[in-house]
Symmetry: D3
């Protein structure tokens, strides 16, 4: 049972492009840029890939020109088009900190919070979302669309900006101070509602989601194997919550057992020293492609 | 008599940036990009340079955050802000053909003219100008803002696009056909009306214009010197309109005269063979920095 | 027992270079480009690497200036030199589609098949192979060697071309249509016949082949581990042919077993959803370096 | 128990920078370059990263401006500052050969050994180390600091150079001959003595070292799994010392066992052919992130 | 009187491309690369530009697929096709030394002259020209076509090479010695004989040649102006042959004259010090675009 | 009469390299980088070029390994070697502001002048010059050699830096304040004293200097030609000092004269508007290669 016509799949052109291709590859879908760039090859006859600007993705998915796509939550919200959000795909983060749109002002500005924006001039690429945010706080301000290099515009051209940041280091380098966070953003898998209502297409999309989430899980997780004296096995799992569900296998030496777990990579740097102290030996960590619970 | 406070001068960031810097340099104003990029150094204490997107230039000039600037006529018209156009500066042309925004459709589309756009979907970066153009032809269509790669959008996502082109070769490579020209574009020197009303500032701007136009003239002109037998001097100027106002100087040999003219470079390739046939000798062509009539 | 003199190993310079270095690294042979480029360092004292154009590889291997090398099957056939083909190494494919030399003509050409090439002009880099192909079909045509940019030559300079393609997207972008496939190509490990007849050298080459093929296998395969209720174990292997030879290990919980298999990565995206439906839990996929059967 | 103030961690700017970032990432510490470059983000609140030239690292660590850092042994020795060397981190090697500072002379020079340097002129970036080396051999020579491109200076400007090399290929390309090795070099983890004396900080540094060494081990090691007939199991471990401590697990088929070992990648290319000959089947090799003994 | 159909003009793709575009621009013909690269725009309706490999130019000109073109004399001779050589255009020289194809051998080879090539193996991209050269010297050798990186092939793969060089520095860096010069090369303007026989087309081509040669002359020439005391005027022209045909103009001061000449730039560095000694003042040198005698 | 052995000419490798090559080219000496980089080709048989770091130039010139060279005044002073300074060559300035080494401190530092540096820590690449400067002001401080990225070191690692700047924009972007200027710098032509004492070599060097200075003059100067009514000629030169020594030539129309001057480009932008007001017509400005007074 396969789809009669392939689903048209929108991939985000630009800053998310490379990381989206990599996530898809780990999920088993290999995308190859074509010489023209707009219609990349994807190795699944049930899919047809199209490269589209993140800002325009939800428009074309909502209108049905694309069946589904990947784009940032910020632009889904900004455009206001009606699409189904199948799942979040938090793969774009270069750091542990979330990407977010913030209100930023000059270091020495008197603006301390959203209320102080009353009557001010604000430049941003995210005009609608900013407007809604201010309205929710009963603040009226002049919001102008910025075509780029937004952080250069304060204080000469505007009083404040709404811009995207992760660590805030670029804002600090421009002598700006973060006042408020308006929205956090990450990629989302969005679908045209009518497409999602078709059982066969929905099945295809659910499977795709399963694999993408499996690939995404694997990015932050690793496999850990070690040999543990049987007598400390229980102690180990009591003291280390992360080790609660290990796969324990017998070894040739009956005093020892092989223990294998899948855990968050972020935990490893605290866990490995503890494991050694508790008597584990031959600890190895190995990379994963997918983790499906 | 110099200005008490420098005039804030907006330079267009992006595709016009380099050629604007070069034109300014030929006019005697050397701009040096700073490490931050937004506030380049300019070697005139009466000016302060700011790099601004072409799309935003007329907004900031109209609002007085910049005193004057250089940007494309297309974006001046699109934004609709009230600014004085001091002069056209047609230096961006890579070819003899003007840059222009055109309606383009797939080669095999049934759309043949502006009337056929009735009820169609059009993607463009120039939404307002397109809207006005269609209204002037009593055509109603769905116009959507395009964030880039516009030429990839037909025929799947829209029926037609309005895009910028010079030779049309990129459109042809994408199998598109040009249907109409909406607007021709070239850089313009635009000024805030209040600034232009101030006599001292106006004087400064008029002088700047004189030098920019002088530098621009020189781009398309060359100097030509040659030795000509006196007896064919008259014949020369009769047959060659381009030679009507030469500077004629005596030479050591009384039978000959030195003739020097400033002419359009485009004329040279036809003129030089003619000159040789008519008896001119020692023809040399030399480059110019400025030509001020 | 090691070789007294190292074997001279030809590596293909150019488009195959990087992927060959990567395959060798996965096989355990690390190549480091030298400042001169021609004699890269390889971390095996029994080998001496030389970078050679793919077109020239079989000539130098046949003449004995190189003992063995890696190059494309196309150029082995084109040159007609006498070498042993030890094995195919299909690692160059960017897609699931084979690289192949095809006859391509303008979209609107009247040429529909090989017979229509009678009396036509054809440009190609693969003159001899094209000649043999046409002769086999009793077709006579004018074949000229093309120094590059072959796809630009139709229709002005020639009637048809024979060029290399994978997905055909570059040909389509140039408005060309594929008429016939002349030869599929992939890298091959080729050996000088006299070298291959020497038992010690042959042993070395057989081991190298084992490792290269093992590394190549691993590129398209992954490891899969999961926990499965013992009662569905049999059902699993009946319904999923890919799971026929798993490694099944006991777990602490006697109702469950740990199952581990090595499978084609291409199968994973269909398999994982099925495994979940059948009751598998904790499915993880991990990458492999080598798979030797 | 966490540190009250983060430790200031010096990372080597320049040629070691990328490989240091990669080692840290494998150890679980992700570094992200900031727009200014000097203060990169590191995902551990107990650490603050600073980018510093390798030549200056031990100065700032010794003076306490940095708490600890990673730099080359060569520059630790050259500067002579008092720091604790916590461990060697031999990750910079592009090849199996150690990086080393050597005395090099023109191919046809009469200098054959350190004694022949008496009275000669030597250019080097490593002045102090060279001076000590010559003194230890009772040789007096004129040593001048070289600001770069040292290998170009012989024979016109100096008689010999002391320069860094791995394979020597760049020296050979410049027609130079290696005469002596002065010092081998590799990255080291160095610590301010007072910092190391603080128990909490020392604990943090010991854990960091454990993870770095674990990540480093994994670079040169791989995991190997295979199925082996039980009757050859003993023979296998007798004949293959590398296989002395395998993890042996039972399989469904009682005649066979699953064998898993962690071994040096350098051994694999000899081991796999032997394993096959001895009856092993389904041999797979997989990559590792960390190996902690 | 203009041509009814434009002439098809072949421009050399590759190493000559940029300098050819620059020469044409100085001659008044502006070429703009298109997005596809093969059909660049040229600002003359009587011409249609095509980018073609230098090696293939004379073939397509001889066959009439191009009307005329610019390519290297080496490839005109190598191909042996029948074309008219309209003129030499020696603009490709990076130095004062001519580009030439030379026989090169390892520094320590016993080959000293063309006779010593008897029975040797030679690699070259210029097979036919090499063959003719050897035949003219009654030498028989094995000549093989080299696909590139020819200088790497001696001594392992061949005994000698025939390669292109200007200063010989790349050959020296590869420890090669030049034995013989086979052919000097420079760009030529070549024409299809039938095209050249048509009076209108010939006229167009003669004018084009006039402008190209004029632009080429100007590359190596400069204008020089100076003020000279009238009493040394004669002495000047007697002592300085380069000054034999100056343009002498009267000045306001009757004791002085303005002297202007066009001379070889290569002469200037000797001439200016002499002029100063002889009493010239206010010497200025200015650049030229074209010099037509 | 030419030199028997060529003079060895040191060219500065690095940031001055390109502008030095360009100045030499304008002076008539064409330098072509070789594949090895150290011994570029120069088109004068009396010269042999060597690329040397600016920091090392005066050492090698003083020791006689080079006969003369071009390097920055800062490094001549820093090294303290005994060389003749033939002339300054102020061609490196990107702006009208001089390059200079300044003391810089954090914006909010309490250091206001050289006296406040007493007892502080200073990082710089220019250790000796800084030491002398402080000694001249009777200030003692700890000066450490900085291997680069000096501006990143304040305030964490040192209290102040001595660094090179032109506009100061990079310092400002790093939140640094300039306290003092230690030395202005520009390229200088330096010569070994013994070489300069040789009459033939001195002659060669004096001629070279004449041409370099002539080329340098031309960088900041332009030619201006215009037609002026004879009756305003005198008024013109009275009111415009820049016009004091024009070349005045008669024209065909006896009421008018052709006026030609060589002037500073920096003056042109004020001069041209004045000239127009005073009645000049047909003003053209043209570029110069050399100006020798």
């Amino acid at each position: 049972m396969s789809l009669k016509t392939p689903l048209r799949f929108g991939l985000p052109k630009g800053s998310l492009e490379q990381s989206t291709f990599e996530l898809l590859a780990r999920a088993g879908f290999h995308v190859q840029a074509s010489s023209r760039g707009y219609k990349p090859y994807i190795n699944d006859p049930e899919l047809e890939a199209r490269l589209v600007r993140p800002q325009e993705m939800s428009r074309y998915v909502a209108q049905g020109f694309l069946d589904f796509g990947i784009t940032g939550k910020d632009w889904v919200q900004e455009s206001g088009h009606k699409v189904e959000v199948l799942c979040d795909l938090a793969y774009s983060k270069a750091t542990a900190l979330p990407a977010r749109w913030v209100v930023a002002v000059p270091e020495n500005s008197e603006i301390k919070g959203v209320r102080d924006l009353q009557g001010k001039r604000i430049a941003t690429e995210l005009v609608e979302t900013t407007r809604r945010y201010l309205a929710a706080h009963s603040v009226t301000a002049e919001i102008e669309f910025s075509w780029g290099a937004t952080e250069m515009k304060v204080p000469e051209l505007v009083d404040a900006i709404v811009d995207l940041t992760e660590t805030g280091s670029s804002l600090r380098a421009n002598k700006l101070r973060i006042v408020e966070t308006i929205i956090e953003s990450y990629p989302q898998l969005i679908v045209n509602p009518a497409v999602f209502a078709d059982p066969d297409k929905r099945k295809k999309l659910e499977n795709l989601k399963l694999l993408l989430v499996g690939a995404l899980n694997a990015r932050d997780k690793v496999g850990l194997k070690m040999n543990v004296p049987k007598k400390v096995l229980e102690k180990l799992s009591l003291q280390l919550p992360a080790l609660r569900n290990p796969t324990v296998s017998p070894l040739a030496d009956p005093e020892w057992a092989a223990v294998e777990i899948i855990i968050d990579e972020a935990v490893v740097r605290d866990l490995i020293p503890r494991l050694k102290e508790l008597g584990a030996e031959g600890i190895i960590e190995y990379p994963l492609n997918k983790v499906v619970y």
